[in-house]
């Protein structure tokens, strides 16, 4: 079956349907990771986005339960150059195509993804529509122009959990061992981590659990007092989709939490929210950072980390208050990748130390979080 991807600027691509039939819309972005399409599909931070994989052969190793970063695919749509009809891996439980279809994800294949990527790179991310079957390109372009902009959108409310729950540690072991090996350190006493779920990736929970933490996950709307009432050793602010500035309730809660002295660690959206709570501003990047190869410099040691990235917004360094310093910089474009409060045990990174997909170079951040908690 044919499919069309249409963009708000009037361009459109003719390809073939590679997932569920129907139509979908969202912000069209590209991801440059060469592995980990299932992790990308299931990362809640991609809510509202149509993700283009720049690497052409997608679906080769199929899909497996252990490779999901949430209950199922979260993307609005998926774009590939050459989707594989078969799966080949000892862990595979099915083909990507079936997975997309079963989860009602509209996807398009066989288009010039490089041409699309170059367009997004030079013009910036755009709104777009994928429709399968007989569709009129001009009409789809028109539809793309009427999609809500990502700026100002609170997408967190759609992906956060309904109720607080305790992460089942045993779930983590198999996956952790498959990929990371056994962590080098476990906590002396089980530490309690209260995690705000703005669209949390499973591997963050797995990493914390692997280091011996007992994690309770709270809905994004839970008041700060709920988290503090549990008596946590540390607070975690998760990744998530959309514009951080639009999640005003979360910013308020984070600000409240920071008044105390509970060590707090934020990743991605969590990092942006911490920045906002500290009084900084965020802004939208032209085409964002999405991939697994971005070099980040840890400023205190000068060490380079190859990082896993997925964000469209960033913290404006000029807006940072005096008591907050930048700890990590992106070597591609000099954007802020990490923050730390001068006096308080508050720190955050823009990228993904939990990887999945991506390199494990920044796993030490979980240890630092542990250190902060154990100091107390």
């Amino acid at each position: 079956m044919n499919a069309i991807l249409a963009l708000e600027d009037g361009t459109w691509f003719q390809g073939v349907s590679a997932g569920a039939p129907g139509a979908t819309s969202g912000e069209v972005v590209f991801n440059t990771s060469m592995t980990g399409y299932q992790e990308v599909l299931t990362d809640p931070s991609y809510a509202g986005q149509i993700v283009t994989m720049t690497t052409p052969q997608i679906g080769n190793y199929g899909v497996a339960g252990a490779d999901a970063e949430s209950a199922g695919p979260q993307v609005a749509g998926f774009v590939m150059r050459d989707p594989s009809p078969v799966s080949s891996n000892w862990r595979a439980q099915g083909t990507l195509r079936d997975y997309l279809t079963r989860n009602n994800i509209v996807a398009i294949g066989d288009i010039d993804t490089r041409a699309l990527t170059r367009k997004l790179r030079s013009a910036g991310v755009m709104r777009g529509v994928i429709a399968t079957g007989a569709a009129d390109a001009a009409e789809l372009v028109e539809r793309a122009r009427h999609i809500t902009h990502m700026e100002g959108s609170d997408l967190v409310k759609d992906v956060t959990c309904a109720e607080a729950y305790d992460f089942e540690t045993s779930l983590a072991d198999a996956v952790t061992e498959a990929s990371f090996g056994i962590p080098t350190r476990r906590t002396k006493h089980p530490l309690k981590v209260a995690a705000y779920d703005f669209g949390i990736k499973l591997n963050i929970l797995r990493r914390l659990a692997a280091y011996g933490c007992h994690v309770r996950v709270f809905p994004a709307s839970a008041p700060a007092s709920d988290l503090l009432a549990w008596g946590p050793d540390g607070i975690f602010l998760s990744n998530g989709p959309g514009d951080p500035a639009a999640v005003t309730y979360a910013v308020r809660n984070v600000r409240r939490l920071m008044k105390g002295d509970v060590p707090t660690f934020g990743i991605c959206l969590g990092h942006q929210l911490m920045g906002l709570a500290l009084g900084a501003k965020t802004y939208k990047l032209k085409f964002g950072h999405r991939g697994g190869n971005h070099p980040v410099k840890k400023l205190d040691t000068g060490a380079i980390e190859i990082t896993s990235q997925n964000h469209g917004f960033a913290v404006d360094p000029d807006s940072l208050p005096a008591d907050t310093r930048v700890t990590h910089l992106n070597l591609y474009d000099g954007t802020v990748e990490g923050l730390r409060h001068v006096d308080k045990p508050l720190f955050s990174v823009q990228y993904h130390p939990e990887a999945s997909p991506g390199p494990h170079d920044a796993d030490y951040l979980f240890q630092e979080f542990l250190d902060e908690m154990e100091k107390k």
């Binding site: 980990g36 010039d112 380079i304 190859i306 070597l331 591609y332 991506g358 494990h360």
Partner: protein, 1001 residues
């Protein structure tokens, strides 16, 4: 940087205390790191320490120890000698007998007499990571490579693909973590390394196989595949730069401290030359047997794969979709069960032709599951191949006339070449091309930019595909396209890469924009910063025309140069010209004239230049007629070949019939060439450069050390020629000039001469850059290829200040390097078919010393004392006498086989007798193995004792004892040893030679 050779040397220099004595610091990989990586036992222990699994294994220093080990690992067992290159001497043993043989050989070949006996992980998936680390422990993976042929086939003999295509992110990151731990533990403080892993496809168990603490063949491939120049960056890291201090040339704005991500697929396919070694075992094992490789890029695996296959230039044999020809069918047995069994065998045992067998099986409808069982190739790749076969079937069913835009687009996007489609559809390639034009299917080009288009690319490093948008952006500058030489093979290797690079430099100096087309990842010509623009493409008419058409969009004329890439571009010259492409330099018509036997004979006749009488034939009858006319012995060979492919010297009618019967690809356009063979003639090579005005400058007259009859590429040669009189020299100069003028050569020309009975004959003329151009350029200090390029661009030789024939800056000997050690069972005897895979040069003030250095370079240490064993045929006995006397005078003991010894004794040379192999024991071969003999002189005794001689030559080769198979070679060796004993070795930079004679560099 210099591969295993440099690494081994570094270790030796360290062990001998030389580095310490002269306070030389090693930068890049350090000695302890080299030792951990290279010493199997240390490596295994190191891996244990950092928790990286390895296959069960043990190290043995003797056969006894090895037998204990294999008791633990079981069969099949892998044998790997320590410190050898390309896995030389390694192998897989399936039983005790095989094990003893391979282990014995491995122990012998290892410079430290040590082998590793290893648990077999044959059939597991094989991966490589190309990694880099800087002095601050920053670590990046440049490229992941997946071997399509699973474990058991050397990675140099495997089809490989980048990036790895069948690894989940979990598996890939686990491998990346292990690689990081490995490079850190091994202790490569700065630079690049190559780490190999195997993964059990059934349960994901991962083991590290080996680590090369240096740049390798794979890093060259990875550099071309990603656009990240590993060696260049490694050099900077060795100087102390950090990765983030080095800019990425391609994006300019980002640093080198990142991991390239690619939005295309890269396939590397090895090129073998088994046809030159008919006795060699074609089974692919852990010892590398290929001689070159082609790399291809496409937007999908299918596209890259088919482009790769077509890059190999295998002619019709390269077509994957052909139903088997008569020969194959015979081999496979009658249709039915027997045929299936034959096919099954071809799939189970990996050989250079397995991929063709695989396509045959798919064509017959064998399913992916069954094929996976037989080959262990990952089902994902098999599925891709299956889809290709299905596409072929669809295409065949529809036919060209009814082919829709959609189907043709699908076929082109899957990588089908016009030529391949023409073959499938039973039409002419032009028809496919016309159809493509009619349906407006045009090749586009995408850039290799290290970042999957995330950043703008400033380097026009391009590959073709069939997509929507083109990124070629041709300029409106005056431009010249240089056609490269494709994959290395015997007869066409890096010498042509050298010529292509210098052509680029020459054209650049004349103000042209240079555009390179080539598909060989091992070359400098395919560096993104050699030519102004680089197209990494197969060298076929279709692919070259696509580039020409794109480049013409800059609204300027586009010229092509075909002279520098060996035979490959030459074959395209006429077709390109017919398609309206300007060919710079010597006209394609002249090229054809030199190749066309009849036209060429006529030309020489008109010029009054002697040549051996000759004729052409396309049948046994015609061949007999020609032979009767010219007289035996004759040299026979097919038209349009390089490296003496299928060339033979034939002494009688029966052999001639056999040759004609076995000759393939013979037609009226491509007849068999039959020349009178000049026995015991002296052979001479000449390279010259000519300009448009008809000025001809001779680059050098090279005298072969071996007589005519041994392929010029396999013969050692020397400049200046020591054994030619002034009269012959001036005759040669005169002929060369007249031929160049008659052919209207603009650029380079090579002429081969033979001198017999005081007459100079022309054997062959090649109006193009030859194999010897780099050698002569180095010997004279004049970059001939660059001069030629500038002449082709319109300069005159006078304007360039090159008007006198060149003179060498010293005495320089070029010697061939042979791959025999990789091919057990192959005879090392030389003949008209070229077999060498490389060459070395030695320079000195005297011939003897230059020869010593050349031999040393080729890995042959000439002895200063000991026993010389002489075993020559009757004809050679007279000539060997002064040589034997000479050796005796230098203090060598002389040993001879019965006949030779009798002759020598009768002529006053003291000589003891040794048995020939079939006469008794200990035989000559035994004595070689026992290290009783320092040098062997053995000329062929004719058919009956062929196997005897062969055993001796092989024994000598395996024992590293120099074995000389020609009388002239023996005379040269004598002179060399004399020089070695009287002069001693010295070291001199090439620049010092030039300075001494005031040569211009």
């Amino acid at each position: 940087m210099g591969g295993q050779t440099a690494l081994n040397l570094a270790v030796q220099l360290d062990e001998l205390g030389i580095l310490k004595k002269y306070k030389v610091e090693l930068i890049g990989a350090q000695i302890p790191a080299i030792k951990v990586a290279e010493d199997r036992l240390l490596f295994r222990d190191a891996m244990k320490e950092i928790g990286v699994a390895v296959p069960a294994s043990g190290v043995a220093k003797s056969l006894g120890e090895a037998l204990v080990m294999v008791g633990q690992t079981g069969f099949p067992a892998i044998i790997r000698p320590s410190f050898t290159m390309g896995g030389v001497g390694g192998g897989i043993a399936y039983n005790l007998e095989e094990f003893k043989e391979i282990a014995g050989r491995g122990l012998h070949l290892s410079p430290v007499h040590e082998i590793l006996v290893e648990e077999s992980v044959i059939g597991w998936k094989e991966f490589e990571l190309e990694v880099m680390r800087d002095c601050e422990d920053n670590f990046v993976v440049i490229c992941s490579i997946e071997n399509i042929d699973p474990m058991g086939v050397h990675t140099g003999d495997s089809l490989t693909v980048a990036p790895a295509l069948t690894l989940t992110d979990k598996e890939y990151q686990r491998m990346r973590d292990a690689a990081r731990r490995i490079i850190r533990r091994v202790g490569v403080e700065t630079g690049g390394s190559n780490i190999q892993f195997a993964i059990n496809p059934d349960d994901g168990r991962m083991v590290a196989i080996e680590m090369n603490p240096r740049v390798s063949r794979s890093s060259a491939l990875a550099s071309k595949a990603t656009g990240f120049p590993i060696a260049k960056i490694a050099a900077k890291l060795a100087l102390g730069y950090r990765l983030d201090e080095i800019p990425n040339d391609i994006t300019r704005v980002t640093p080198a401290s990142f991991e390239p991500t690619i939005d295309y697929v890269v396939v590397k396919i090895p090129r073998w030359n088994f046809e030159k070694f008919p006795q060699a075992d074609r089974t692919l094992t852990t010892q590398m047997k290929s001689v070159g490789e082609a790399m291809a890029l496409g937007r999908t695996f299918k596209e890259a794969f088919l482009k790769g296959i077509r890059s190999l230039e295998l002619g019709k044999e390269g077509f994957l979709f052909r139903r088997p020809q008569f020969d194959d069918a015979e081999e496979e047995g009658a249709p039915g069960e027997e045929e299936d069994a034959g096919l099954r065998r071809k799939l189970v045992i990996p050989t250079d032709r397995r991929m063709w067998a695989l396509f045959r099986a798919l064509d017959k409808g064998w399913d992916v599951e069954k094929l996976h069982e037989l080959t262990n190739i990952d089902p994902w790749f098999l599925q891709q191949f299956k889809e290709l076969v299905e596409l072929r079937k669809t295409a065949e069913m529809v036919g060209l006339r009814d082919m829709s835009h959609e189907l043709l687009r699908t076929l082109k996007r899957a990588g089908f070449g016009d030529g391949e489609l023409a073959d499938i559809l039973g039409v002419d390639e032009t028809a496919v091309r016309e159809k493509r034009k009619e349906l407006k299917l045009k090749t586009v080009f995408k850039r290799i930019d290290t970042c999957a288009a995330e950043f703008e690319s400033f380097t026009p490093y391009l590959y073709s595909t069939f997509e929507d948008t083109c990124e070629a952006d041709p300029t409106d500058k005056q431009k010249i396209i240089i056609l490269g030489s494709g994959p290395n093979r015997i007869g066409q290797g890096i010498e042509f890469d050298y010529c292509c690079c210098h052509a680029v430099f020459g054209f650049k100096r004349e103000g042209f924009e240079t555009v390179m087309i080539n598909c060989n990842p091992e070359t400098v010509s395919t560096d993104y910063d050699t030519a102004d623009r680089l197209y990494f493409e197969p060298l076929t008419f279709e692919d070259v025309m696509a580039v020409v058409e794109r480049e013409r969009e800059g609204n300027v004329d586009v010229s092509c140069v075909v002279q520098f890439g060996g035979q490959t571009p030459l074959k395209l010259a006429l077709a390109l010209q017919e398609a309206g492409v300007t060919i710079l330099g010597t006209s394609p018509d002249s090229i054809d004239l030199a190749e066309d036997r009849q036209r060429f004979n006529q030309l020489l006749w008109d010029l009054g230049i002697p040549q051996p009488s000759s004729g052409t034939a396309i049948s046994k009858g015609e061949a007999r007629e020609v032979a009767a006319k010219v007289g035996f012995p004759v040299v026979v060979r097919p038209s349009y070949v390089l490296g003496g492919r299928a060339m033979a010297i034939v002494y009688d009618v029966a052999t001639l019939d056999r040759y004609m019967g076995g000759a393939v690809d013979v037609s009226h356009d491509r007849p068999i060439l039959i020349d009178r063979f000049l026995e015991h003639a002296k052979e001479v090579d000449v390279d010259a450069v000519a300009d448009e005005s008809g000025t001809v400058v001779i680059g050098g007259i090279m005298e072969h050390i071996e007589e005519a009859g041994i392929h010029s590429g396999d013969s050692s040669c020397v400049v200046p020629p020591p054994g030619l009189g002034d009269r012959h020299l001036s005759t040669i100069r005169d002929y060369t000039r007249r031929i160049a003028k008659a052919l209207k050569v603009i650029g380079l020309m090579n002429v081969q001469y033979a001198i017999k009975d005081d007459t100079v004959y022309v054997l062959e003329v090649n109006p193009r850059a030859s194999r010897t151009v780099p050698y002569l350029s180095k010997a004279t200090g004049v970059a001939l290829a660059q001069v030629a390029a500038r002449v082709m661009a319109g300069k005159s030789l006078a304007e360039l200040g090159v008007t006198e024939d060149l003179t060498p800056a010293g005495v320089f000997v070029k010697s061939p390097v042979f791959p025999f050690v990789r091919f057990p069972g192959v005879d090392t005897i030389l003949g008209p078919e070229m077999k060498s895979t490389g060459e070395v040069m030695g320079g000195a003030d005297s011939f003897g010393m230059a020869f010593v250095k050349a031999m040393l370079g080729a890995g042959q240490q000439l002895p200063k004392e000991g026993a010389v064993c002489i075993s020559v045929n009757n004809e050679d006995k007279g000539e060997v006498l002064p040589i034997a006397t000479g050796f005796a005078a230098l203090g060598f003991t002389i040993i001879g086989t019965r006949g030779t010894a009798a002759y020598l004794r009768a002529h006053g040379v003291e000589c003891s007798v040794v048995f020939k192999v079939n006469e008794g024991r200990p035989s000559l071969a035994d004595e070689i193995v026992n290290r009783k003999i320092a040098l062997v002189i053995n000329t062929p005794h004719g058919r009956e004792s062929f196997f005897d001689d062969k055993a001796v030559r092989r024994a000598a080769m395996m024992a590293g004892v120099p074995c000389i198979t020609t009388i002239t070679g023996a005379a040269a060796a004598l002179e060399a040893i004399r020089a070695l004993k009287t002069e001693g070795l010295d070291v001199r930079a090439l620049q010092d030679y030039y300075a001494a004679v005031g040569a211009e560099i």
